[in-house]
């Protein structure tokens, strides 16, 4: 037997691997993180994707342009309307279709409602990830109101597929305006209660403040977008940089926080809900009445060329890049999903954090796994 002599300099704790996911209560989907741990400390994070890969980009090459829209629902299912809108806008831009004003306004209102619904769901699971289980139920109560509004008009609650190239699928339900008007003051009254329950809690503040710092430089170089980048003070709101649909007609602020920590990202989303309500308020009273569909051909064929449309989903900068060779199917479609780039930042800022902090950080990143893994 070989004798092993230890001296104190050799003594070190042993690093070990933990598979967090693909089935794990804190991963909001089938994200697998291979963690190198030293005790409670996370030394390295390696995401392993592919558990929900459905080759959506490849499928798009075999579908007509009208069908592609339905596939985009399944990317970031919480921002499904904005994804639909991005593809519709890209096709309209390529075909040079001028859509009616009513369609633009409807799309913007729907988009902002979807954003609020997404942020509400995020707030609920954010609380669950840091151990406060009650937030989930409160968030879902209020999100349900949006789902009901969506259901009445679009016929679906989550994957709406409401936009079509050149318009929207159905006209607004007669109840729509009233229900949205009911919802706006309701949400304004409940968000302060959310703050009482979670934001103001001393434990929550301690968990969030100065944890998971992401510098503005890193946010830019890692390609972060949406609330993650805005929490680090990087202005990146596509709604302001290149307003689409009816966004050029409304007045709203881009929420920017300079701290770059968990709390900043949290606050950005909480404040964004107010801004979204503000946008809806400006549009809801005077929806123009000039039809819901521009004239399009039955079979849409894009001219030869490359087309890019970027929109701001609830998670950040969503891009649709279509290469067309003039046929009825696209030659290549590429989706730039915000979650994928935001996952990069998790790998950077999650290192040398405690396991509990890693969960909190990934909660503030607001991942939707089908969006990361298309």
């Amino acid at each position: 037997m070989e004798q092993v002599i230890y001296n104190s300099a050799d003594l070190k704790s042993q690093e070990y691997f933990i598979n967090m996911g693909p089935q794990h209560p804190a991963a909001h989907g089938v994200l697998r993180l291979i963690l190198t741990m030293d005790g409670e400390m996370v030394k390295n994070i390696e995401p392993d994707l592919g558990y929900i890969h459905r080759s959506i980009e490849k499928q798009c090459e075999h579908e007509g342009y009208k069908q592609i829209i339905h596939l985009t629902d399944r990317l970031d299912y919480l921002s499904s309307h904005m994804n639909n809108e991005a593809v519709a806008l890209a096709i309209e831009q390529a075909m040079q279709i001028e859509v009616p004003e009513r369609v633009k306004v409807i799309r913007t209102i729907m988009g902002e409602l979807t954003r609020i619904a997404s942020h509400l769901l995020w707030w609920g699971v954010m609380g669950m990830d840091v151990g406060a289980l009650t937030t989930f139920m409160y968030a879902f109560r209020d999100r349900e109101m949006i789902n009901d509004i969506m259901e009445e008009t679009c016929g679906a609650r989550l994957t709406m597929s409401y936009s079509t190239p050149g318009g929207v699928m159905f006209d607004l339900h007669p109840n729509f305006v009233n229900r949205v008007k009911e919802f706006i003051p309701h949400l304004r009254s409940v968000i302060p209660k959310y703050d009482e329950l979670l934001t103001g809690n001393i434990i929550f503040q301690k968990r969030m403040k100065n944890v998971g710092f992401l510098s503005a430089q890193d946010a830019i170089s890692l390609g972060a977008s949406g609330p993650v980048a805005r929490g680090s003070g990087v202005s990146c709101d596509r709604r302001i940089i290149e307003p689409y649909s009816a966004l050029s007609k409304v007045d709203f602020k881009e929420i920017l926080y300079q701290e770059g920590d968990n709390l900043a990202r949290y606050n950005v989303r909480m404040k964004e809900m107010y801004e979204s309500l503000h946008i809806i308020e400006q549009l809801i009273d005077n929806i123009p009445d000039d039809g819901i569909q521009a004239k399009t051909k039955a079979l849409i064929k894009l001219p030869k060329g490359e087309f890019l449309q970027r929109v701001e989903t609830a998670r950040g900068d969503f891009g649709v890049y279509i290469v067309s060779d003039g046929k009825k199917n696209p030659y290549r479609v590429k989706f730039r999903s915000p979650g994928f780039s935001n996952l990069n930042t998790l790998m950077e800022i999650g290192k040398n954090q405690l396991l509990g902090d890693l969960i909190a950080i990934s909660a503030t990143m607001d991942f939707v796994i089908p969006d990361i893994d298309r």
Partner: protein, 358 residues
Amino acid sequence: MILTNTTNYFSQFIAYFSDTIGWGMGGQILAYVLIAIVYLIFFALAGLYLVYLERRVAAFFQLRLGPNRVGPWGLMQTIADALKLLSKEIFGTDRKDKLLYHTAYYLVIVAALISLSVIPFSNGIAAYDINIGVFFISAVSSVGILGLLIGGWGSNNKYGVLGGMRSGLQMISYELSSGLAILTIVLMAGSLQLSEIIHQQQAGWFLWRGHIPALIAFVIFVIAGTAESNRTPFDLPEGEAELGAGYHTEYSGMGFAWFFLAEFINMFIISAVGVTLFLGGWLAPFGITDGLGMPWLWGFIWFFIKVGLMIFLLMWFRWTFPRLRIDQLLTLEWKYLLPIGLVNIILMAVLVYYHLVF
């Protein structure tokens, strides 16, 4: 009406039973066994109904209804759940350490049940009313920690090990604080016997009589007690968002059920000890039911009302607060609660020495 601490219904029962049956030592042992069986049945049911209560309270906090289908108001729900768990296969990994894996849950549940034996539920109703009751509870409940530790270790699962280590870290740390809080009251009472401590509170609950030190001790005790029973905001050992299920990740069927039941019985014990030490145990507030006859029944009622309120407080914590991080957990204990507890006990000693307590 001053109640004396002489009757103990259990010792009377044992004497009566063994005399009647006349087997000498055997009769006594049979009486002990009977009492133990009654305790087991009562607390298995109490644990199940605490689970039911927890689910109803959680539903109440969360805009839900909670269990309401099985039996009237869903009262049979947890019984049905227990039956389901009984019928389930105990399924674990192949590489578990079988001895430790299977010892763990017995340690936890047995430690919880033994602690119950010294708690006086009413005047003269404590199965084992010894003169070092407080000490006995702290000692026995520490054995439960061992169960969590070896359960996490023996299941050969990294989440289990992390959960087990966290529970060891947490419960050993917080036991110091709860011990100090208990000692503060023991200083006042001058006794370690739980029934004696209650009898002394006939002049007023120790929470009021002990001025500020007792109040501080109570707050520390509630915080440390929450931590010892592994409940939110101190549910790190089984923090589901972080560790799956922590130390009981690999347990299923009754193995899991024992851990689960033990958690709720521990919550009951924490509340019962808190009520006994600070809130007068089974004594009626201001003696309002003293003249109504059947003192042991009123004792029961008041004891369970107080314990219920205390349990509700713990449940309120659980469904409101987020979870602490592991370093914050230890900071809270070693940098705040422990020094405060130490200063507090000195303060109490000074008060007691100069007879400044009521």
